[in-house]
Amino acid sequence: MRLLKTGRWITAVGLVLLAGVYVRALAFTPVERTQGMAQKIFYLHLPAAIWAEGAMILVGVASIFFLFLKDPRLDRFAEASAEVGLVFCTLVLTTGPIWGKPIWGTWWTWDARLTLTLLLFLMYVGYLLLRGAVTDPGLKARYAAVLGICGMCLVPFVHLSVVMFRTLHPQPIVIKPSAPSLPGEMLETLAFSFLVFTVLWVGFVIQRYGLSLVREQAEPHA
């Protein structure tokens, strides 16, 4: 129960900070010249996308350690991380089209990064479906770990494959060999937003972790 409460507090702080991000983004960050106001959604979109993918890596890493250590906490963490990853994917997949419609003139394109996120989304769904389909708790944890590790290893291949199709996506603007091509204020807002999303991610994961712990204690399996 304590974990649940902690998670809620962190999430609440994250949400307040998120409001802060938007105050900053709308009032104190310059409007992008060609894209106009639509670009503002980018402060939501990019950090969510980074964490949507990062969560899969964490699921995989936790799964590897789980198979060696058999510690149920690692399994619970992987599950929580996958659930939050799914939420962040949903966020990316909804903000993407909202931004894409005015800028690209289309809700959906089979753009590399969008395809990647859609695949991530489907992988999280598959991961959670597999967990739901197995009743034996020991079996469930092992199966989920196997799938989680495979999922993590798939991510770089998806990158390799989808990027080969021509992309409409804005090219990487933050991390690239030369200096970031984003004006300083935008970059600061983005960095701030990324931190806020990290807080949100931690808050969500702790909540889901606490919840599965409570659920487990409530009904000791037969």
Partner: protein, 223 residues
């Protein structure tokens, strides 16, 4: 390890040969899908050669799914899997045996499907047959390796037939994309060197996921 794997694969194929249900349904399924594609496209608007690579790969992907679903169901029927685990046979042999049997199965379906595909869609294959078989082999090994691993898990869940495609299809997308691109390059008569890049990626995928499957398979069967 190889000897045991071969014994297991031979047993699987013998069972398959006796029952014949899975291989027949997979072949019939392939023919039907090819037919559906033929009527599902507008021949005046889209040239066959533009659509052909996708048709070929979509067909084989779904046919492979039928094979993979069957692999571990066979072992669970009378809890034969427990017997295998009890025998002094390494887990790697069990996985390899299943992988070999599945590969033979899928290869058979592909061997029947490929000439039919050429016939139905009037695609000339003979001059690129060698490289095309290489693409087929590399792509098939990759997704059958992952599929064999996953079917060991899904076979023991409810809705196995539905769950396996849901889990496996995301893993089929990268090899599928490369295979389609490579096939397209070959069928369009472009130089071989254009396809080698895709082949290399397919090989990398195979190496990573075959290794991974061998490493992870014990976790799916041992308590």
């Amino acid at each position: 390890m190889l000897r045991h794997a071969w014994l297991l694969a031979r047993k699987d194929l013998l069972v398959e040969f006796r029952s014949r249900t899975a291989i027949l349904s997979a072949v019939v399924f392939t023919v039907l899908v090819l037919m559906v594609f033929n009527f599902g496209r507008d021949p005046t608007a889209v040239a066959a050669v533009d659509l052909a690579p996708s048709i070929l790969w979509v067909t084989f992907t779904f046919a492979a799914m039928l094979a993979l679903n069957r692999a571990f169901q066979l072992e669970l029927e009378n809890q034969a899997l427990d017997g295998l685990l009890l025998a002094p046979v390494s887990r790697s042999s069990i996985y390899l045996g299943k992988l070999i049997a599945n590969l033979v199965f899928v290869a058979t379906v592909e061997a029947v499907g490929l000439p039919l595909f050429a016939l139905f869609f009037n695609v000339r294959l003979l001059h690129v047959l060698g490289p095309l078989v290489a693409v087929l082999a590399l792509a098939t090994v990759g997704f059958v390796a992952v599929g064999t691993l996953f079917s060991a898990m899904t076979a023991r869940t409810r809705f196995a037939e539905l769950l396996l495609p849901v889990l496996l299809l995301p893993f089929m997308i990268p090899p599928l994309i490369w295979a389609v691109l490579a096939t397209a390059a070959l069928l369009a008569g472009r130089p071989l060197s254009e396809a080698t890049g895709w082949l290399r990626l397919l090989a990398a995928f195979d190496i990573v996921f075959v290794t991974l499957a061998f490493a992870l398979f014990p976790a799916t069967v041992d308590e």
